[in-house]
Structures are given as structure tokens and as C-alpha cells.
């Protein structure tokens, strides 16, 4: 058969219909993170669920960083650093996003269900 058949048309239609679904599924409401991990140079790593609103005070190298978890998002409210980069990062709500206050040695990262490592290289 070298002419397009009905089966071809069905397969092509299904494949083309699949595409918008994929874009909506993976690009639209991009996968929300599940837990937030807070690391500090001075204390143990803390892992908290994203769906419980909370304010935390984390002791770092310079002083206390304040972190807020609200509506499945997390952000730095205050940090004793000069640049305030961590605060300007704003809300984090997607899997893998990270905010860091390097002077204070505190990082906040949202982590998905299946997090092991970023990539493997050979």
C-alpha cells in the first residue's frame, strides 16, 4: 500500500490530538512540588510538607532567616544579609525551584515526589 489508508488517517489524527493534551498536561499547570527542604549551615536539614502554612525562623551564619510557607508556596520573608537576593527571589511553587541566602548559609528548595539527583553524566 503506498496510498494513504483509513488506518493512516486514524493514527495521524490520534497523534495530532495527543499533542495539545501533552502541552496542557506538562506545560500548563506545571507539576507542583510536594515538600520543601530547608538547609542551613548551622542546623540539620528540615523537610516540611508544602500544604501546611507555617512561619519558621532558621539560625544561619549571620543570624535568623525567616521563611514562610503559605498556599503551597514558600519564600524568604527576612534574612540578615545585605543583598536580600533571597527575599527578592519571591515565592517558590514549582518542583525544583530554589532560593538561597548565601551570606547566611540558608537554602530553601521545593522537592517533588521522586527526587534523587538532577542528572547523571558519563
Amino acid at each position: 500500500m503506498t496510498r494513504t489508508t483509513l488506518a493512516d488517517k486514524i493514527v495521524v489524527t490520534l497523534a495530532v490530538l495527543l499533542l495539545p493534551f501533552l502541552y496542557i498536561e506538562f506545560w500548563g499547570n506545571s507539576s507542583q512540588g510536594e515538600v520543601v527542604q530547608i538547609r542551613s549551615a548551622n542546623s540539620e536539614t528540615i523537610t516540611l510538607p508544602l500544604d501546611q502554612d507555617k512561619q519558621l525562623k532558621i539560625a544561619g551564619a549571620l543570624g535568623i532567616s525567616t521563611i514562610e510557607i503559605k498556599d503551597r508556596q514558600v519564600r524568604f520573608i527576612d534574612s540578615p544579609c545585605k543583598g536580600k537576593q533571597c527575599i527578592m527571589t519571591g515565592w517558590l511553587n514549582k518542583d525544583g525551584q530554589l532560593a538561597a541566602c548565601l551570606p547566611n548559609g540558608v537554602t530553601v528548595q521545593i522537592i517533588g515526589r521522586d527526587h534523587r539527583f538532577d542528572a547523571v553524566n558519563f
Partner: protein, 182 residues
């Protein structure tokens, strides 16, 4: 001192069938396309026209599934040895893609409905991309972020799958015209 006596070199002859030779020819053609294509720059790993797929589809439609399976696996094996990626991650990806597309083609060709090269090629391209993607996700980049690439990769698979199918259709037409003439 012992002297070396000249002995006839042992003649090694392997009985090859017509089918073996045909597979070798077609595999050589597919390998050439595969290597030429590997020189093309690619914006995202895994985005490749997959023109060697055309040969697999022609094999399937002209000589049957066995020939297609041989040609596809030989292409990946020999292609990777020549490019130097044998047993590397990209080899694992190519091989898993080739195996998946061969399985899908086998199933599709046993269906009671009839496909042209376009249908086969599209199915093969989608199977190839999906298998590659999941092997990449499971073995090499187990990060949720990889799924952001999936829509692009499948779009590319659909476009090049249909494109290769159209080319394969034209080639098959020419082959069959020649067969009728001779």
C-alpha cells in the same frame, strides 16, 4: 632451525542466503543515513529527523517484519560502534527506541487494518521517542523537569514520523514501479 612451510590459507566460506544479503545491503544503507544524521547539530538531545527509519519501514513493507527487525537492530549496533557511542547512554537510548519501534511495527503489521508507510512510520517514531524518553528518565535523568521536554519531543516525533512516512511512500512507489517493468 625449523623452516616455515607455506600452507594454503584456510578458506572460510559462509553460506549466505539471498535474504542475508538483502539485510546486509539495507542495513548498510540505514547505517550510512544514521551516521550522516549523527553529524547534524541538534538543539535538544533526542531531537533528530530519524531518516534511517525510512529504511526500516521499507523493509517492513517490502520484505516483512523479520527483515525490518534485523535492519533496525544492526543499524543501531554498527552505527554506534562506528560513531563511538557503543554501550554509552546514547546507545542505550537508540537501542531501546529501535526495539520499541520494532515491537510496535510488528503489532501494527499483524492488525487486520492496512497502513501505508505514513501510518507505520508515525507509529514507529512515536514508539521510538516514548521508549527513549522513559529509558532516559529511568536511567539517566530521573528528574521531574524532564517531563517539560516531552511535548516538544513528541511533536518532533509526529512531524518527522509523518515526513519519513511520505518519503518512504515515494520510495516504495518507485520500487514497485520498477518491479512491474522488469
Amino acid at each position: 632451525m625449523t623452516s616455515f612451510r607455506y600452507t594454503e590459507p584456510m578458506k572460510l566460506s559462509i553460506q549466505t542466503t539471498r535474504e542475508d544479503q538483502r539485510i546486509a545491503w539495507l542495513a548498510a544503507l540505514a547505517i550510512t543515513i544514521h551516521i550522516a544524521e549523527s553529524a547534524l547539530p541538534s538543539p535538544i538531545p533526542g531531537v533528530k529527523p530519524g531518516l534511517a527509519n525510512i529504511i526500516t519501514i521499507i523493509c517492513l513493507m517490502q520484505y516483512g517484519w523479520r527483515c525490518a527487525a534485523w535492519v533496525a537492530t544492526l543499524r543501531v549496533l554498527v552505527g554506534s560502534i562506528l560513531i563511538g557511542t557503543f554501550l554509552s547512554p546514547s546507545f542505550a537510548l537508540s537501542m531501546s527506541g529501535a526495539i520499541a519501534s520494532i515491537i510496535v511495527l510488528g503489532l501494527a503489521s499483524r492488525l487486520p487494518i492496512e497502513f501505508s508507510a505514513i501510518g507505520y512510520s508515525l507509529l514507529a517514531a512515536m514508539a521510538h521517542m516514548t521508549a527513549q524518553f522513559f529509558v532516559a528518565y529511568k536511567l539517566f535523568i530521573p528528574h521531574q523537569g524532564l517531563f517539560h521536554l516531552l511535548p516538544i519531543l513528541i511533536t518532533v516525533a509526529v512531524v518527522f514520523g509523518i515526513g519519513s512516512g511520505i518519503i518512504a511512500n515515494h520510495i516504495l512507489k518507485k520500487i514497485r514501479e520498477q518491479q512491474i517493468e522488469s
